[in-house]
């Protein structure tokens, strides 16, 4: 009689533990998903702004064809990327090309006096910052989630329940290098 009681208690404790763990993991996983959606929204916003930017600079920057081409290329590769790493890589490439565009723009006083260009520059800088913040938040959530499923004894159960490590939105090597800006 006593042994049965003990076994029942142990089993219910284990079952309760699994239920709480599962629900906690689901909640975290949804937060990870939601914070990735945040990055996506901003990436899209930036992509929408770029044609306008290219149009407004084209007239002034006759000698910077390659910069503009790089931007258009990077923009396209974001749209085609589907994996987290692919998006992260394409995004940081676009960030870098935009940086060099704005650096080059310093050489064109007429462009810097153009109201439309300044507005777009502010809009894009704002979006760039939002991408960085969204990425930071996403990576924080991913770390939280990964730590939770890797911890003992969670790791024994999380794997069986089908939870896998999420990928963080990593800066690629090219982004980690300091961007050389020439004036």
């Amino acid at each position: 009689m006593q042994t049965w009681l003990i076994i029942t208690i142990i089993i219910s404790v284990v079952v309760l533990f699994i239920i709480f763990l599962y629900n906690g993991l689901i909640r975290l996983k949804n937060q990870v998903k939601n914070s990735f959606a945040q990055i996506d929204v901003q990436l899209k916003r930036r992509n929408d702004l770029i044609p306008n930017l290219v149009n407004s600079v084209k007239g002034y920057m006759k000698h910077e064809k390659s910069v503009l081409e790089n931007i258009t290329k990077a923009r396209a590769s974001i749209m085609n990327a589907s994996s987290v790493e692919g998006k992260a890589k394409a995004s940081s490439e676009l960030t870098n090309t935009l940086k060099s565009l704005f650096a080059v723009a310093e050489n064109y006083p007429q462009l810097k006096a153009n109201e439309n260009f300044l507005q777009l520059q502010e809009e894009i800088t704002g979006t760039e910052n939002k991408i960085a913040y969204a990425r930071q938040h996403y990576n924080d959530m991913v770390m939280l989630f990964n730590t939770k499923i890797q911890k003992f004894p969670n790791n024994l159960i999380a794997n069986t329940l089908g939870f896998k490590d999420e990928k963080s939105f990593e800066a690629t090597d090219s982004e980690r290098k300091n961007v050389t800006v020439e004036f």
Partner: protein, 300 residues
């Protein structure tokens, strides 16, 4: 950013405690008035009901009261794209659902504050001086500081403090004065009444002073500013931005915000008055010394 849940719980608890003290004080004042008119219960009940209604009103519209008291105006994204972008970016960094509304105070002083009942209903107000003199990194530091106040429910507690303590001091001041004046007038007529008035005044003083003191002690937490500075850095990951902003604020020759008063002072990121370092100021200062804050940020 991971705000410790302790901070949030603390602020919610303190808010309820403050409301409790407020209702208690209002009830006592009502009871005393009732006592004078020989009907203590009517006074008690009426005042508590009025106090509860007022609290509910303050809870839901206190932020609007504070914003209009401070001369802050709601601005559109078109007018201040720069400010909007910074606020939106930090909302994302903090993982909040709703973007706080942006308000601007027409003032050359460098200052900012946040208010609201919870992160879903919040506002950030900055002075035009701040927008003009800070660069993007510095503005991000200041907004991140305000975002931390929003995320850990400092705003709710600070909003209630501002208005409830304000109204209690006002009321008790008014009542005390009217009792005293009333006492003077009736001196010759009725000796009996005179003693009653004196007793009442004594009672009011004896009961209210420690209670108001307690409320103010709850409200003054210099730790709050340090905490907000620290969590601002977890948002921007760039302590120098806020440090530089604070240094510019410190070096500003005219820190006076025209519409700020004693009641709203503790909301701002830095004391909105001219600096007078008296002992009283230091003891009851709502903000830690700005030099100390800069030092801590620079050591991060």
């Amino acid at each position: 950013m991971r705000v410790s849940f302790n901070e949030v719980r603390n602020n919610k608890l303190k808010s309820y405690l403050l409301i409790f003290f407020f209702i208690l004080i209002i009830g006592m004042l009502g009871g005393l008035i009732g006592l004078i008119y020989n009907n203590i219960y009517v006074g008690l009940i009426l005042s508590i009901v009025a106090g509860l209604i007022y609290t509910l009103l303050v809870f839901n519209t206190g932020d609007k009261m504070i914003l209009s008291m401070s001369g802050a105006k709601l601005v559109t994204k078109k007018e201040y794209p720069h400010l909007y972008h910074v606020i939106e970016g930090l909302t994302i960094a903090a993982g909040l659902k709703n973007t706080p509304k942006a308000y601007v105070i027409e003032d050359t002083a460098l200052n900012a504050f946040a208010t609201g009942k919870d992160p879903e209903h919040s506002s950030i107000a900055v002075t035009t001086g701040l927008l003009k003199k800070l660069n993007r990194e510095e503005l991000e530091g200041v907004i991140a500081h305000e975002m931390s106040h929003i995320k850990n429910y400092d705003i709710r507690f600070m909003m209630l403090t501002t208005i409830l303590i304000g109204i209690v001091t006002l009321l008790s001041d008014f009542l005390l004065r009217s009792f005293l004046w009333g006492g003077m007038g009736r001196r010759d007529n009725e000796n009996n009444n005179m003693t009653l008035v004196l007793v009442v005044v004594g009672l009011v003083l004896a009961i209210l002073t420690p209670l108001i003191g307690q409320m103010i002690r709850l409200a003054i937490s210099r730790k709050r500013e340090f905490m907000a500075d620290a969590s601002a850095v977890t948002l921007t990951r760039y302590p120098k931005g806020l440090a530089n902003a604070l240094r510019k604020i410190k070096d500003d020759p005219d820190p006076l915000v025209d519409h700020a008063n004693k009641a709203t002072a503790h909301l701002f990121i830095s004391v909105p008055f001219r600096k007078k370092q008296t002992i009283m100021n230091k003891l009851f200062s709502t903000h830690p010394p700005i030099d100390e804050r800069i030092k801590i940020l620079e050591e991060m």
